[in-house]
C-alpha cells in the first residue's frame, strides 16, 4: 500500500496557521529566512525560537512532527558543525592535536552555523506541514505571476506541479503492482550486489515508464477535450483574498524583524 504515503508532509488542520493565505505564507517564509540570516547572536535565535514555538503551538502540530523533519538532514547539520569547528579560525585554543585545532571562537561559530540550518529547516517545515501541496502550488503560481513579464513559464510550471502531485500516488500504486507481478515470475529485487540490483530494476522501470507515457498521452487528450489551451484567458475557481489573520501574521513577523534590527543597532 505504497499509495497511502502522502507526499511531502502536509498535516491537515484548521488552525489559524493553516488558514493563512498560501501567498502570505510564502512571503512570511521568505521574511523568516531573511531573519535567520540577519541574526548575529544566540539572543536572536531565542527570538526565532519563540516565534517558531508560538506558531507550532498555534498550529496544533506536535513538536515531535517538527523535530522529525530534521532527521533526513541530520548528517548535513553534523557535517556543518564539525567542519566549522575544525576549520574556523580563532585565538583561544581549547584543544589541539597535530593539525586539528579547536578554539572557543570556532566552537561558537560551529554551533551558530548548525543552529542556522536547524532554524531554516524548522521554518520551512512549518510551511509544508501546514499548507497542502495544492495550496502551495497555487500560491506559488500567483506569487510568481510577475515573472511572466520576463517570459518565465509560471502557469506551465504550476500545472506540471499539480499533475505531478496528482499522479505520484497513482504511480506509486502501480510500482507496487508491477513489483509484485515480476516477483511472481521469480524476479528478485532485494539481493545481490549493486550492479545486480540495478539490473533487477529493469523489469520494474520499463513497464513503469511505458505506463507513465501512456497516462501522459491519455491525460493530454482528456485535457484537450476539456478545452485546455494553456494559461491564456484561464480563470481560477479559488479566489485568494487576504484576511485579518494574514495581516496579523504579517504584522507579527514585521514587528519581530524590526525588533531584531533595533536590538542589533542598539548593541
Amino acid at each position: 500500500m505504497l499509495g497511502d504515503i502522502t507526499l511531502g508532509q502536509f498535516f491537515p488542520g484548521d488552525s489559524p496557521v493553516h488558514r493563512v493565505d498560501p501567498r502570505m505564507k510564502l512571503l512570511l517564509t521568505a521574511l523568516y529566512i531573511c531573519l535567520t540570516f540577519l541574526v548575529k547572536d544566540f539572543i536572536g535565535y531565542g527570538l526565532l525560537l519563540a516565534l517558531l514555538l508560538f506558531c507550532t503551538l498555534l498550529s496544533g502540530l506536535k513538536l515531535k512532527f517538527m523535530l522529525r523533519s530534521l532527521k533526513p538532514i541530520l548528517m548535513i547539520i553534523l557535517f556543518t558543525f564539525f567542519l566549522n569547528m575544525f576549520f574556523a579560525k580563532g585565538d583561544r585554543v581549547l584543544f589541539a592535536w597535530r593539525f586539528i585545532v579547536i578554539t572557543e571562537e570556532s566552537l561558537y561559530f560551529a554551533a551558530f552555523m548548525a543552529l542556522r540550518l536547524v532554524f531554516l529547516i524548522l521554518g520551512t517545515s512549518l510551511l509544508t506541514l501546514t499548507t497542502s501541496p495544492i495550496a502551495l502550488t497555487d500560491g506559488l503560481e500567483r506569487v510568481l505571476k510577475p515573472l511572466k513579464l520576463v517570459r518565465f513559464p509560471v502557469h506551465e510550471l504550476s500545472m506540471m506541479m499539480t499533475i505531478a502531485l496528482r499522479f505520484i500516488p497513482t504511480l506509486l500504486e502501480e510500482t507496487d503492482k508491477i513489483m509484485k507481478a515480476q516477483a511472481a515470475r521469480g524476479a528478485d529485487f532485494d539481493t545481490g550486489n549493486l550492479l545486480q540490483r540495478a539490473k533487477a530494476m529493469v523489469p520494474l522501470l520499463v513497464p513503469l515508464f511505458i505506463s507513465a507515457f501512456r497516462r501522459a498521452d491519455e491525460l493530454a487528450i482528456a485535457m484537450e477535450a476539456r478545452c485546455y489551451r494553456g494559461g491564456e484567458g484561464r480563470t481560477r475557481m479559488k479566489i485568494l483574498r487576504l484576511q485579518a489573520v494574514d495581516y496579523l501574521a504579517l504584522l507579527l513577523f514585521l514587528a519581530l524583524l524590526a525588533a531584531e534590527l533595533l536590538r542589533q543597532r542598539l548593541l
Binding site: 499509495g3 501541496p133 495544492i134 499539480t162 499533475i163 502531485l165 496528482r166 500516488p169 497513482t170 500504486e173 501512456r214 497516462r215 491519455e218 491525460l219 487528450i221 482528456a222 485535457m223 484537450e224 477535450a225 476539456r226 478545452c227 485546455y228 489551451r229 484567458g233 484561464r234 480563470t235 481560477r236 475557481m237 479559488k238 479566489i239
Partner: protein
C-alpha cells in the same frame, strides 16, 4: 436538424489506406435528447469514431458537424468542444487535479468563467452526480466508479449539449459499472442530456434509444436495441454477444415453446414463461 451530423466520414491512421482505415465511409446523425450506443468488438473502429465527434481526430475525408460547426474549422474548435464533452475509459488518466472540486472546475477555468460562477456550477455538477460530499477529497482515494462520476461532473459543469462516453465502464467492477450507468441514465431522463456511448457490454446498450453496430470501420447494424439485439444471426456473424434471454428464447422456440420473439430481458422472459405456464 441533427445535433451532430456525420457525412461520408473516413479516417485513417498513419500507414492505412482508405480500404483498411479505422473508419470507412460512415454517415449518421445524433438527435437532440437521444441516447445513442455504439457497440462493436475491439478494432471495429468504435473508439476512433467517437473521437471524431469532438474534433480530437479530424476526418481524413468527409465532414463532422456539431450544430453546424465543422470539426475541421480550427478557429471554432473550442466552441465545439464546449458543446461536446467527453468521458474516457481510464478513470485515473482524465482527472487533473488533486482535489475533486478543483478537478470539476478545470474545464470551467479553461473557458475563463468568473470564479464565483465556477464555484456555483461545480457545486451543482457534483450534486447532480451525487458526489457533493466528496468535494474536498483526493481523487486517488475514490473507487473507480466514483472517479468516473467526478469526470462526468467535470463535463456537466461545462454545460455541454452532448456527453460522449468512450467505454466508461470497461475498467470498473460490476457495482462501479452500475453506479456510472445509473448516474448517466438519470441525467439523461431528468435533464434530457444527449448521450453517445461506446461500449462492448451488450447489456449496457439495452438502455439506449438507438444502437449502432460497428464492424471493420463501417456501420454493420443499426436500429432500436430490440431490432439490433434480436437480430441474433447478425450479431453472431459480427462476433458480438447476444442477450442471454434472447438466445434462450430462440432455443426454446426451436423446441416448440411459444415464447414471443420480442423477449430480451429477464423480466420479459419471466412474464412469458408464467403466461405459458398458466395456459397449461
Amino acid at each position: 436538424m441533427a445535433l451532430i451530423d456525420l457525412s461520408e466520414v473516413f479516417f485513417q491512421y498513419e500507414g492505412q489506406t482508405e480500404e483498411d482505415g479505422a473508419v470507412r465511409g460512415v454517415s449518421f446523425g445524433v438527435n437532440k435528447g437521444e441516447w445513442l450506443s455504439i457497440i462493436g468488438h475491439n478494432g471495429s473502429g468504435k473508439s476512433t469514431l467517437i473521437k471524431l465527434l469532438n474534433g480530437l481526430y479530424l476526418p481524413t475525408s468527409g465532414e463532422v458537424k456539431v450544430e453546424g460547426i465543422s470539426s475541421a474549422a480550427e478557429d471554432r474548435i473550442w466552441e465545439l468542444r464546449k458543446k461536446v464533452g467527453m468521458i474516457f475509459q481510464n478513470p485515473d488518466n482524465q482527472l487533473v487535479a488533486t482535489v475533486v472540486e478543483e478537478d470539476v472546475a478545470f474545464g470551467l477555468e479553461n473557458l475563463g468563467v468568473p470564479p464565483l460562477e465556477i464555484q456555483g456550477r461545480v457545486k451543482n455538477a457534483l450534486e447532480k452526480v451525487r458526489m457533493g460530499e466528496f468535494a474536498k477529497h483526493a481523487p486517488h482515494h475514490l473507487s473507480g466508479g466514483q472517479k468516473q462520476r467526478v469526470a462526468i461532473a467535470g463535463i456537466l459543469a461545462m454545460e455541454p449539449e452532448v456527453l460522449l462516453m468512450d467505454e466508461p465502464t470497461a475498467m470498473l467492477d460490476p457495482s462501479g459499472r452500475k453506479e456510472v450507468l445509473d448516474t448517466v441514465l438519470r441525467l439523461h431522463e431528468e435533464q434530457g442530456i444527449t448521450v453517445v456511448h461506446v461500449t462492448h457490454f451488450m447489456e449496457e446498450a439495452l438502455a439506449a434509444d438507438r444502437v449502432l453496430c460497428m464492424d471493420e470501420g463501417k456501420i454493420a447494424l443499426s436500429g432500436s436495441p430490440r431490432e439490433v439485439f434480436l437480430n441474433i444471426g447478425g450479431l453472431h456473424a459480427l462476433g458480438l454477444e447476444v442477450p442471454p434471454m434472447a438466445e434462450l428464447s430462440l432455443r426454446l422456440r426451436k423446441k416448440g415453446l411459444r415464447i414471443p420473439e420480442t423477449v430480451m430481458s429477464i423480466e420479459e422472459m419471466t412474464e412469458a414463461l408464467c403466461q405459458l405456464k398458466s395456459a397449461i
